[in-house]
């Protein structure tokens, strides 16, 4: 086992069904499913039902949905599923910042129980004690993990949690009649939503850029602070994987200026049990349960941004929150300064349930071990990528990183003309996914890798072998890389119509109107 295995790049070809668009499968008269019929007595008493509708509210023409038999619908979507590479299939370490870890299958079994799937949020509390218990307990777990005092599970993702943080800061200053505080500071290596979702609340955004060490600059922060400062929303480690050791200076300065500090811990995978929001004096933080806490990403949701606050801000949380009175769990809708709601009902319960199961499976030691191994894996991959010709890991030369690294293909591009986009397309030919990074591309020709704790050393080696193969091709035959993919589902896309209002087609009916008449 400890011997090095020969790691080969796979002779991969993704499924390629050449599957039509669902509307092209339309055969009049076919049925995908029958709906329950009405009982004869009801039919006799009530009639057709439709005539109860006012004439002007009746639909004249049936919606032009396709008519497709059941097995064909199944086959269609199964084939489309095979046109995807989920984390379950590939070595999904190429989507840095997103923590594509293993989502345990047992959790899916639990989520599908009728006692989780078929419960309504307005059932009487006495009938949903299990669900409320899970929400409450994950709250208490996250209090331990963060050091903060209470969590809400309403935000439907990290961006919604940022919006909720911005809303809380806004509501706080409004309740104190401090109307002049309208600026929030963030950093360029924090998620775009730290700026964007905050601006939705009317805040002016100040973005700090990195210094030569790749870290936000304390002096720049000092210049940005004023009596207009409402807060600082920041990631740490940022997308570079470099931990900012002076983070408590940042929070101290912001507090002295009268603002609040919100910690974007969408991804906290490298520091579970190592360092917490409390130690760095943050007032708020949030964890994406679909990242660090294993809930699957579902092609882009549903996820959940679990938002925690210090007790001073508890009364501003969105409602409802779940509480425990020593005997039973109950719903509390009465927080005096609540921002109201950021989503319907309690949030994405399945994500909370999966986080519960994941934490219960690992315990405190296991969480810390997950963090340790995620960081070990990252630094192992970092060493291997540094050895690749044309690749670079800007900033913090010679130092270790936490859970991810933002790399650059700048040198590869200069020497071969092969760009990050090209490498991405060629990696698809070997069954791998690679991602650039968030805009703007401060690191030129960026790519972001985050190995998490889920993949074995052999798998990491296999991914690196894939990168090495593409690099080798780039130097020997750059055109080969530039024309990729060859073994993926489709070939190079023509993006020209996607930005042209006369040509873009966001639906099949628009496509038919614009391109088929």
């Amino acid at each position: 086992m400890t011997e090095d295995k020969t790691i080969k790049v796979r002779k991969f070809h993704q499924a390629k069904w050449d599957e039509p668009v669902i509307f092209e499968l339309d055969t009049k008269g076919e049925r995908g499913i029958q709906v329950p019929r009405v009982e004869k007595e009801i039919q006799e008493q009530i009639g057709d039902g439709i005539s109860t509708l006012p004439e002007n509210m009746r639909r004249k023409e049936a919606p032009a949905l396709p008519e497709v038999s059941q097995m064909r619908v199944l086959k269609h979507f199964l084939r489309l599923s095979q046109h995807c590479l989920g984390a379950d299939l590939n070595v999904d370490i190429g989507q840095g910042t997103c923590t594509m870890k293993y989502s345990p299958k047992i959790n899916e079994v639990l989520v599908r129980m009728p006692e989780a799937a078929d419960i309504h949020p307005w059932q009487d509390e006495s009938t949903v004690q299990g669900a409320l218990e899970i929400i409450y307990k994950v709250d208490t777990f996250l209090r331990e993990i963060s050091g903060l005092d209470q969590f809400t599970f309403q935000p439907g993702g990290g961006s919604a949690a940022i919006l909720a943080m911005a809303s809380i800061v806004h509501a706080y200053f409004e309740s104190k009649a401090e109307t002049g505080r309208d600026e929030i500071i963030t950093t360029i290596f924090s998620h775009p939503s730290d700026a964007a979702a905050t601006a939705v609340k009317g805040f002016k955004i100040i973005t700090l850029y990195q210094n030569e060490d790749g870290l936000p600059d304390v002096e720049a922060l000092k210049k940005a602070l004023s009596e207009r400062t409402a807060g600082l929303f920041i990631t740490n480690p940022e997308d570079t994987g470099i931990f900012n050791p002076r983070i408590d200076e940042f929070t101290k300065l912001v507090h002295e200026a009268g603002g609040f500090c919100g910690y974007d811990q969408a991804n906290a995978n490298g520091i579970l049990g190592i360092t917490r929001a409390r130690e760095a004096n943050f007032d708020m933080c949030f964890f994406n349960l679909h990242k660090t806490f294993s809930s699957p990403h579902g092609c882009g949701g549903p996820g959940l941004g679990a938002l925690g606050v210090k007790k001073e801000l508890r009364d501003y949380l969105p409602v409802p929150v779940v509480e425990y009175n020593g005997e039973s769990y109950y719903v509390n809708d009465n927080l005096p300064y609540t921002i109201g709601k950021v989503r319907g009902f309690f949030g994405v319960f399945p994500a909370v349930l999966r986080a519960y199961a994941w934490i219960m499976s690992l315990g405190a030691e296991g969480l810390k071990e997950a963090a340790h191994v995620a960081v070990l894996n990252n630094n192992y991959v970092l060493k291997k990528i540094r050895e690749l010709r044309g690749a670079d890991a800007p900033y913090a030369e010679g130092r270790h990183r936490i859970e991810q690294v933002r790399y650059s293909w700048q040198k590869l591009m200069e020497e071969t003309g092969v760009t990050t986009e090209d490498v991405i397309c060629r990696m698809a030919d070997f069954g791998f996914h690679l991602w650039t990074s968030h805009h703007p591309f401060v690191v030129p020709e960026p790519f972001s890798i985050e190995p998490t704790e889920s993949y074995s050393k052999d798998e990491l080696d296999e991914y690196i072998a894939g990168l090495a193969k593409v690099v080798e091709e780039a130097y020997e035959d750059p055109e080969k890389v530039k024309n990729a993919p060859y073994n993926s589902v489709i070939h190079k896309i023509d993006p020209s119509s996607l930005d042209d209002p006369d040509k873009w087609a966001i639906t099949w009916r628009a496509y038919l109107k614009k391109h088929k008449t």
Binding site: T2, E19, V21, F23, Q34, I46, G47, G49, A62, L65, P66, E67, Q70, L78, R79, H83, D88, E108, A117, I119, P121, W122, T127, G156, G157, S159, A160, H170, P192, A196, T275, E279, N288, C299, G300, G301, P302, R343, G344, V348, F349, L362, E365, V375, L376, L382, H400, H433, W435, H439, E453, K457, S488, V489, I490, H491, P501, I506, R509, A510
Partner: protein, 480 residues
Amino acid sequence: MNEKNKSVHPYIPNSVPEVKAKMMKDIGITDIEELYEDIPEHLRFKGKMNLPEALTSEYALKRHVEGVLLKNLSCKDHISFLGGGCWQHYVPAICDEINQRSEFLTAYAGEPYEDHGRFQSLFEYESLMAELLDMDVVNVPTYDWCQAAGTAIRMAGRITGRNEILVADTVSPERLAVIRNYCHPVMNIRLVKHCPQTGIMDLEDMETKTSSKTAGVYFENPSFLGFIEHQGELISEIAHKSGAISIVGVDPVSLGVIRPPSQYGVDIVCGDIQCLGVHMFFGGGLGGFIASRDEEKYVMEYPSRLFGITKTAVEGEYGFGDVAYERTSFAEREEGKEFVGTHAALWGITAAVYLSLMGPHGMKELNTVILQKSHYLMKQLSVISGVRAPYFKSSHFKEFVVDFNETGKTVKDINTYLRSKKIFGGKSLRSVFPELGESALYCVTEIHTKENLDSLIQAIREIVDSAGILDLREEGSTDD
């Protein structure tokens, strides 16, 4: 800690001591702690997280979590009449089959090549919804209807350059709470009154409140309280006359037989897709949609991903990609339109499966049977002395308010009794619409059999006819 004696957790392969040692040697460290060199001592967490003992065996974990979940009573084993934005419809087996596929469930943000299936299925979702809504643009799902309504309103604000929105005062209180927070402090919300007898919008009040500051009007159809707003054309006309945008939140299930809002002058339509093949999940099954005409001034204001169809280098091959990506916060941070991130894509794929299975005939038949069953229940409940359904003298689809004011019983007492009969009664409206007194919002769908409806009718008759209060109140009951 003694690495040798520790069993390796199945989720963490490189915990194997030999593997770990080799990797550590490779990167030149002797202790994992060295990797955290940048985290200063004073920022370290010195304690131990107080978490329960790990249940490392899958069996132990399953037993434990099942035990907690089994404290819930599900709508599978009870007859539920709860709705109000989270609805119990039948979920076809294939919807669950597809959304449990590893490829969809565990994919995230791949490229249009290796994740082509994600792009195509969400493009198909947009396209199927577009037929139901009779509109040419539909977004990749946002969080839920609440968010969709909030964004539709902010879109109207940007399109018109105005900052006031009129909202029907009968909209869902959940939605209104989200809208209020999402709009504050950029846009002002003014509520428009309704006719107390029918529930429909008071057009006079709307006209009075409409001005050159009005960005748009938002109402729901069928409304939260179940009645159908039949004045859509007039409302849109009043809005348009003053340069405002007409926005409607709609239950998409209803569009098999009910006229889609685009056909009565509405500019932006939004709503929820949970009802299209997704389980309720305690409210976790929600997903929001936004739709509009294919006009640049509308399309460029969407914050969401919009997947479009295009060509590839190979003749006849479909490719898909982001339309007008530069609008988004992914491209432009705070200069983008609102924000985009992880929302509810898996439920969009599920809704695509659902609509493909249902087809035009399935949707029409579904609507017909819902109309018949809900009207049967309203009719039979009204026979009971003191009970009136619907409360509002209007047409209804699947939800309606049941008025218990004349029974002398509270909704709380009625629901407590119903629970003893394994029935979850309708949502009490007392705290959110106090003017309705002891009334409850009931929801009937295709899953309710005549037998289910008759047992509800029988149980309500029993509690209403009983002298005094049946002493069946439980500890901790929460209906208000």
